[in-house]
């Protein structure tokens, strides 16, 4: 499994593992908000089926990075390469179609729709029938809907939520809403899944279960996962590579063990030692 490869120096493209090309690569990605440099020189390489973490203190720009990757914010500079496609400048929808799905820090479910319908929105492009098919209720419609419903329930079963299909999404408990958002993102058939604080607000046992499930998702769907998380137990437990962000810049990259002992990271989190 390839690792997050360190960037040698400014202006140079990160090293590539030629054997297994990375699924996501960013080159000097950055954004300015007015005069403020929110993210700068963001370079990461994520291998196929790799689980990587993006950590950093509050306000470091982690969610901004997600928004740059999915083009919710337009990057001021830099390139994003997904698979073998340059996706910089694509719209959020095109990025999703190209194979990058995400969840949101503040949950964004379709609250008035049922759990199954939420997943079926994710399956939108997987169902093939057109408006006349829907209006005249042609066989293609029934086939498509049946397939979508079954597929949605099948995907919900990852989190053991297949019995909740007919419940209103807005009425689910918090943890289940987070899990549903992951399933919805998975339904778009991504190559890489971006999870924004998937364990936020979960209790320790829920978090432990989530960790298992994230690994299970990776193994079942053979996709890469990039996650933002504050729960160090989760990050250190499942991530194969970690990047640490502070003030919009990557200050360290490496394996969990390397990160945990990196003085720069300790300084960013705990502050400088008194002289």
């Amino acid at each position: 499994m390839s690792k997050l490869v360190p960037v040698p120096s400014r202006g140079m493209v990160p090293e590539r593992d030629v054997e297994s090309p990375p699924v996501l690569e960013t080159i000097h990605l950055g954004v300015d908000f007015g005069g403020l440099v929110a993210v700068d020189k963001f370079n990461i390489v994520i291998g196929k089926t790799e689980i990587s973490g993006l950590i950093g203190p509050n306000g470091a720009g982690k969610t901004t990075v997600f928004n740059l990757l999915t083009n919710v914010y337009k990057p001021t500079r830099g390139t994003v390469i997904l698979g073998d496609k340059d996706i910089s400048g694509m719209s959020t929808r095109q990025v999703c179609r190209a194979g990058m799905a995400r969840t949101f820090q503040n949950i964004r479910l379709f609250k008035d729709m049922t759990v199954a319908e939420n997943v079926m929105v994710g399956l939108h492009h997987d169902i093939k029938y057109h408006t006349p098919g829907a209006v005249f209720r042609l066989p293609s419609f029934w086939r498509g809907e049946k397939y979508a419903k079954n597929k949605a329930l099948e995907m919900l079963s990852i989190f053991n939520m297949q019995d909740m299909g007919d419940l209103k999404a807005g009425g689910l408990p918090y943890g289940a809403q987070r899990r549903l958002e992951i399933v919805r993102a998975l339904a778009t058939k991504p190559m890489i899944l971006l999870l924004d604080e998937p364990a936020a607000g979960m209790n320790p046992s829920e978090t432990a279960e989530l960790m298992e499930n994230i690994v299970k998702i990776r193994d079942t769907y053979q996709i890469a996962i990039l996650l933002i998380e504050h729960d160090m137990k989760l990050v250190m437990g499942i991530c194969e590579g970690i990047a640490v962000l502070n003030y919009g810049r990557i200050i360290a990259k490496g394996t969990p063990a390397e990160i945990a002992s990196n003085p720069l990271v300790i300084e960013a989190y705990l502050g400088k030692k008194e002289a």
């Binding site: 959020t92 929808r93 949101f104 964004r108 379709f110 008035d112 319908e117 929105v121």
Partner: protein, 347 residues
């Protein structure tokens, strides 16, 4: 939901709905035509039907798509004028039966309104909330003013401006109004209960998340808006055939507000609500005709009371499904039947 409960097979539900629809259509038409309903009451019923279509169409844009357009009177005017002009010219030809050609006029009204709605929707739907309301309001007024003055500018008699367009064949009757209401309800229902409908609802609930799920939000917003404009145009065409005389003044800003009030009162996102509320708000002024000096007060009071005690509207976002009702009565749990007759929607 119990999984063991038996479900009515889908074809049976369709059959029941179709049979009920045809039976209701024929029996009510026969009843109206038998002379036991006075022409005055028939007129009120037809007006109810036209307002139902207007409410259903706006409900698609407001309740389902989550946008707030205020220019629907303009689309209604487009439908009314294009159908009226078409009907006037076509019936001037010898050997053309007005009532036989009327469906074409209605369709033309809808298509022209949809086309203009599409053109307006492309720039307008980039805006949200109040801004969209203001820009559609502006476009609605533009349509009205153009219809008012186009004859003076072009120099030939076309819309007759403020003098109003007269001698439109009065082809709107109970039968074709009922048919149009049913078709509107059926098409909106089937579209909403499909992947397209889910995309539209997803945009209403959370546009950013919909976009992140790969939904083409621009496409679906334009699609929903255009469909809404189409049905509004159909209602306008029926209105022209109902009155026989139309003038641009009838399609002002207040008409748009009136439709919006109907939708809000019925409950945004409830087709049943739109239908009930259109009936109530059309019939109420007529029922209260005896107390004519007080009826606007009663009308306003009704609105205030509903908004205080049920801000989500009469029906909230509840919708009616025949098979769910039958299922409850018969101890079955049925879902997602496709009703076709007036006044019934999904679960």
């Amino acid at each position: 939901m119990k999984k063991t409960a038996k479900k009515l097979p889908m074809w049976l539900r369709y059959l029941i709905n179709t049979v009920l629809f045809v039976a209701l259509l024929l029996s009510s038409t026969a009843f109206i035509n038998s002379g036991s309903v006075s022409p005055y009451h028939t007129k009120v019923i037809i007006l109810c039907g036209i307002n139902m279509i207007l409410a259903l169409a706006l409900n698609l844009a407001t309740g389902y798509l989550g946008q707030l357009p205020l220019g629907h009177a303009g689309f209604m005017a487009l439908g009314a004028y294009s159908s009226a002009i078409f009907m006037r010219y076509i019936t001037a030809m010898p050997g053309v039966s007005a009532s036989a050609i009327f469906p074409l006029g209605v369709l033309l009204g809808g298509v022209i309104a949809a086309f203009i709605g599409f053109l307006i929707g492309i720039p307008a739907l980039r805006l949200k909330g109040d801004y969209l309301a203001i820009i559609t309001l502006g476009f609605g007024e533009i349509i009205r003013v153009v219809l008012l003055n186009i004859d003076d500018v072009l120099g030939f008699k076309f819309t007759y401006g403020a003098a109003s367009l007269k001698n439109i064949p009065k082809t709107t009757n109970f039968f074709n109004t009922f048919l149009c209401v049913s078709l509107t309800a059926y098409i909106i229902h089937t579209v909403m209960k499909s992947r397209h409908g889910r995309a539209i609802l997803a945009i209403r609930d959370n546009e950013i998340a919909a976009e992140a799920c790969g939904i083409n939000t621009v496409y679906y917003k334009t699609f929903g808006f255009t469909l809404s404009a189409f049905f509004t145009g159909v209602a306008g065409a029926l209105y022209a055939g109902y009155l026989g005389v139309i003038s641009p003044g009838a399609f002002g800003f207040m008409k748009s507000i009136e439709i919006l009030v109907t939708v809000v009162l019925g409950g945004m996102g409830s087709m049943l609500g739109s239908i009930i509320s259109a009936t109530v708000l059309t019939a109420l002024p007529e029922v209260l005709r005896a107390f004519s000096q007080y009826r606007m007060i009663a009308y306003s009071l009704l609105l205030i009371i509903v908004m205080i005690f049920k801000p989500s509207g009469l029906m909230g976002n509840y919708d009616f499904s025949l098979s769910t009702l039958l299922g409850k009565l018969g101890g079955r749990t049925g879902k997602s039947a496709v009703p076709e007759k007036e006044g019934e929607d999904n679960e």
